[in-house]
Amino acid sequence: MTASHRRKVLLAPVTVTPAKPLTPSHLKGLLWTDVMFRATARLADVTYRYSHTAYHLTEQTLGFWEYLDRTRGDVDYSGMSEEDIGELYVRFRAEGGTPTAAALRPYAESAEAGWVHPASERVLRRWLDHYADLGLHEPGLLAHQPPELGLEEMVAALVERGLGLDQRDVGGPVFLDATRFGLPLRQIVSPDGRPNYLACALRDLLPLATRHDEVVLLYDSDLDPDYQLLQRVLADDGTVVHRVPLGRVPIDGKITSARHGGWHDHTVGTILRSIRDTHEPRARRLGLRLYFIAVLGPGRQESWRHDLLHRCLDRAERLLARTTAGHRDAPDEPAPDLAGELARHRRDHTHVDPYRLTSSLLGRRAPAGELLTEVFL
């Protein structure tokens, strides 16, 4: 496959608000995206777009920053844990109250220019540690990655294409308008100018999507109505857009949002600490991927189970031992071509399906070492 024939794929997972510890639901999304990215990168030119800069401008992030400064003052966040900062976020959400656009303006202006509040910077630095531990591709958590389109340019582009309705001149909001496809009108900018995360996504993805052959949106399945809208808009100029909704991971049968807290024994930090002494790093990376991708699957039926995770870690250890020892399913045959192997796990699209690929490991005695190192470790 020559470079000129390689298709251009844009992977655009929903970002996690850097205001709280990562939970199993977040980890699931990160691992799915990572396997999809690393596998597809062998077959196509892949852009993994994960710009916190683009989403800092949502009310939940700017509002949290404004709340911290208003209620805490000048404090040192550098020694705080994700959990400490998460507790403050839970308090912010519980106390409610919608900050005015005027109160958020200094934060919005600085965030556009690349500034990040020290509380979120602290959280992102902790996440970088987890990314390194987990062997995740680091898409630039702390990098300044401004969206190409300004808010006004994005709104004008939508209106021009018949996909936007701007009523700010009469004190109304800006809507994303896909009603011609039978999808309901959706507000994306409040009458006083505050964008929601869909507006942020459009600023970031509208120009990027046109430069790719295929776009893959990975997101929490609770956001499905919004992502159906996003798919319609990004596909409007002919780009192929796939949605990959992922169900959250229930804890004891319950699905909760991190904004409500209650994550205590189930943060990614806690999980990683709990397996640090029992399994070596490669087994941890592979075992977590087996559990969060192949065992939990895309749905949300299976609750978090520590015992199943441990079984996956043991399974990973055995797979790695056999691979390292050079065993193969059919030792006399030549090593299969990695690209061909990965290509089997696509369907009618360019990107590799992480569920099919990861599940295929469970049916084998010893997968190819190259597959593991390139995609899973």
Binding site: Q167, V170, G171, G172, T179
Partner: protein, 234 residues
């Protein structure tokens, strides 16, 4: 005619009596609340879809729409107090799915109905209530001509609109009732000209009036306020 609380109450009571004569005996116009409690909820509605808003264009198109409503569909709408739901939307995106009864010449707005509530449910689910939260502000008097072939000698009237503490969305509601009911009463017809005049409040308006729109006061919700007035021939 000078506006007084008594006059406003009698206008509101007359509208109630004219719309539902069977309630005549019960109409107590001593307080605005007593009047409001009597208003029956109608089941016929008109849904308007607003894309871009400009008052003169919207006034002209509202009159055109009201004139286009067949006589047999006017009565149930009138008995529902010309109930109208204003939604945000782009008519050009909806025309493939909905058979509007009227679309503005420039595509800025569209009308569906009068129809039973259930007949508009799909459109209402797809769109959102129009939220023009800004005040209109004053404008220089502007005259619009109601399109169509005149059936009687055309008339020129002034349309006064209160602007202080009244949002665009509320102006739409108030002026809409005044216009469509005036069309039904024959006060506005094809070829007529209306000069739109902004005043902070209609208080002190001296011109002889053909129609007056009253509703709850924006500052004192238990009292009535005049929102729009149509004068006798200017």
């Amino acid at each position: 005619m000078t506006l007084t609380p008594e006059l406003l109450r009698s206008v509101a009571a007359a509208r109630l009596r004219d719309t539902h004569p069977e309630l005549s005996a019960h109409v107590d116009s001593s307080t605005p609340q007593a009047l409001r409690e009597l208003v029956p909820r109608g089941e016929t509605v008109v849904v308007t879809v607003i894309g871009r808003f400009s008052l003169p264009d919207w006034v002209r198109e509202t009159c055109r729409f009201a004139l286009s409503v067949p006589v047999e569909r006017r009565a149930p709408w009138r008995r529902s107090f010309t109930r109208t739901v204003h939604l945000s939307g782009r008519p050009d995106n909806l025309r493939g799915r909905f058979a509007f009864d009227h679309v503005a010449a420039d595509g800025s707005a569209a009308w569906l109905g009068p129809a039973p509530d259930a007949g508009t449910a799909t459109l209402r689910r797809l769109l959102k209530t129009f939220r023009g939260g800004r005040e209109l502000g004053a404008w220089s008097p502007v005259t619009v001509e109601v399109p169509g072939d005149a059936a009687r000698p055309p008339v020129h009237r002034d349309l006064y609109v209160a602007t202080a503490n009244v949002t665009v969305a509320r102006t739409l509601v108030q002026v809409n009732h005044l216009l469509v009911e005036s069309v039904m009463d024959g006060l506005i017809g094809p070829g007529d000209r209306l000069t739109l005049r902004a005043v902070p409040r209609l208080t002190g308006l001296a011109a002889p009036l053909a129609a007056l729109r009253v509703d709850a006061d924006t500052h004192r919700p238990h009292e009535l306020q005049a929102y729009a007035a149509l004068t006798e021939e200017a």
